[in-house]
């Protein structure tokens, strides 16, 4: 059911040329080299240590590995992860 609805929405977005992250409620990740990672549209933090950040998404979670990671800017909409990012991984 959910899957079919998504398919429809995706097609609609394709026809109307609307960005998919708005239609499908997807997270948007902006990376500045390996120094900063800005994640918009998240659902909260699962785990935070200086070497690992796990962030809950709409579907699954995002795992960020790195060194000296800090959370620079924490809001309902966005998370700014600073430090040295080595790995970004989706876990669905």
């Amino acid at each position: 059911m959910q899957y079919r609805r998504n398919r429809h929405l995706q097609r609609l977005a394709g026809i109307l040329e609307i960005p998919q992250d708005i239609v499908l409620d997807l997270p948007r990740i902006t990376m500045l080299g390996n120094k900063q990672l800005l994640l918009e549209n998240h659902k909260g933090i699962i785990e935070y240590t200086p070497s690992l950040v796990r962030i809950k998404l709409d579907q699954g979670e995002l795992i960020i590995c790195g060194k000296d990671l800090t959370l620079g800017n924490l809001q309902v909409e966005q998370i700014l992860v600073e430090g040295t990012v080595e790995e970004v991984k989706y876990d669905t």
Binding site: G44, I45, I46, E47, Y48, T49, P50, T70, L71, G72, N73, L74, Q75, V76
Partner: protein, 410 residues
């Protein structure tokens, strides 16, 4: 930048969150729209920055998440105000200081007078003090324009006066008039200043008293400051009435100068060996203290350079504190022998230098004659120098009453 400033203005609290689930605390904060920044995790726990107003509303969240919090650091404007409230006297002192400074600065403390050359500064000082510019006056109470006018009016030598305030100094700037010297119109003769033989005499006004080729002595009248009024009809028989005037003219004469110069063939020269010693004497009032003594034997050859240093306490301090530093240089005696030619050269230049002060710069040197004199002592070379010049020897001398009387004969 702007965010940092707003953090500062609203006040920032850095807290340490310790407990089993710090992430839960973060999530709850995010849910409650509490803005967090600067999250770092260390061994002791999670450090979080938040604004002061948010800090007061996190108590339920902390309870809920079963964490402990501890304030690590706080900074910002609200804390600064708190601090100031605790130290009222400091603020009062600061305000008082500014007030006192402002008051003191609005008075004149010193008066500087610049630009005056002929007029004594004290006279100007007295004059402006009379008109209301004294040390200790309030700056705004000083009628600047009025004083300027008054000074310019009272002192005719002053061309312009400007008074301006620079801090606590009042600078009185004065520009003096350049009054041209009144030309000397007093009747005068032209008189010889030196002995010589006249080579040229041109009387522009007055009567020439000597001819070309005459030998004159110092003090002789060259051009008389008299003139005969009216047309010269017959000057042989009748002397027309005389009138005293200021003589004017050019009188050139041949003048001789003579000078001697001598030089020794064998001279002893003292030279510094390079070894030196420093003696220091400290003087306080009438007391003298030898800080460092230099032992000098009476037969030692030394040259002493002393130089005094005075310590200024205040200008009106009457105890003199002074240190005298004497540097003793050891000297070495040396005999220097020079040749006859060199000795002649030396004595010649010595003779010329002694002449130089006598011969005026405008003089035209006609001839130089150098003569080596035979001396009985072998060690000495003596040179005689004769210089002949042509120069203006006239000098104004005002006519005395005695000179002037010359009754017209009947």
């Amino acid at each position: 930048m702007i965010r940092n400033m707003s953090h500062y203005i609203h006040g920032t609290v850095k807290i340490k969150v310790s407990g089993p689930m710090p992430e839960k605390f973060i999530n709850l904060c995010v849910m409650k729209n509490i803005f967090l920044w600067g999250l770092t995790k260390k061994n002791e726990g999670l450090f979080v920055c938040m604004s002061l107003s948010d800090f007061f509303s996190i108590r339920p969240i902390v309870r809920n998440s079963k964490n402990h919090i501890k304030v690590v650091r706080y900074y910002g404007f609200p804390f600064l105000i708190n601090k100031i409230k605790k130290r009222k006297m400091m603020v009062i002192g600061l305000i008082l200081f500014l007030c006192v400074l402002n008051t003191l600065v609005s008075y004149i403390w010193f008066i500087d007078i610049i630009g005056n050359k002929a007029i004594p500064a004290q006279q100007i000082r007295d004059l402006i003090a009379e008109n209301g510019l004294r040390p200790g006056m309030l700056k705004s109470d000083i009628p600047v324009k009025n004083i300027e006018n008054q000074v310019a009016f009272t002192l005719p030598e002053v061309a312009w006066v400007g008074i301006r305030f620079t801090g606590i100094h009042a600078v009185v700037e004065i520009v003096e008039k350049t009054i041209s010297k009144p030309q000397d119109k007093e009747p005068a003769d032209i008189v010889a200043v030196k002995d010589g033989v006249i080579t040229e005499i041109i009387a522009l006004s007055g009567q020439s008293a000597v001819k070309k080729g005459d030998t004159v002595k110092k003090g002789d009248v060259l051009i008389k400051g008299v003139s005969y009024e009216g047309a010269v009809v017959d000057s042989t028989t009748i002397n027309p009435p005389q009138q005293k005037i200021r003589a004017k003219g050019i009188v050139k004469a041949r003048v001789w100068y003579e000078s001697y110069g001598e030089s020794e063939l064998l001279t002893t020269v003292h030279e510094r060996t390079g070894r030196q010693n420093i003696g220091v004497v400290l003087r306080i009032g009438q007391q003298e203290f030898q800080l460092k003594k230099v032992a000098v034997k009476p037969d030692d050859l030394v040259e002493v350079d002393t130089f005094k240093k005075k310590l200024f306490w205040w200008r009106n301090h009457n105890i003199i504190v002074e240190s005298t530093i004497s540097t003793y240089y050891e000297l070495d005696e040396k005999r220097v022998e020079i040749g006859i030619e060199e000795a002649k050269e030396q004595s010649k230049s010595r003779a010329f230098t002694s002449l130089q002060s006598l011969i005026p710069e405008t003089a035209h040197v006609v001839s130089r004659n150098i003569e080596v004199l035979q001396m009985p002592e072998k060690n000495l070379v003596r040179v005689k120098v004769n210089v002949e010049t042509v120069e203006d020897i006239g000098e104004f001398t005002s006519i005395t009453i005695k000179n002037e009387v010359s009754a017209p004969p009947k």
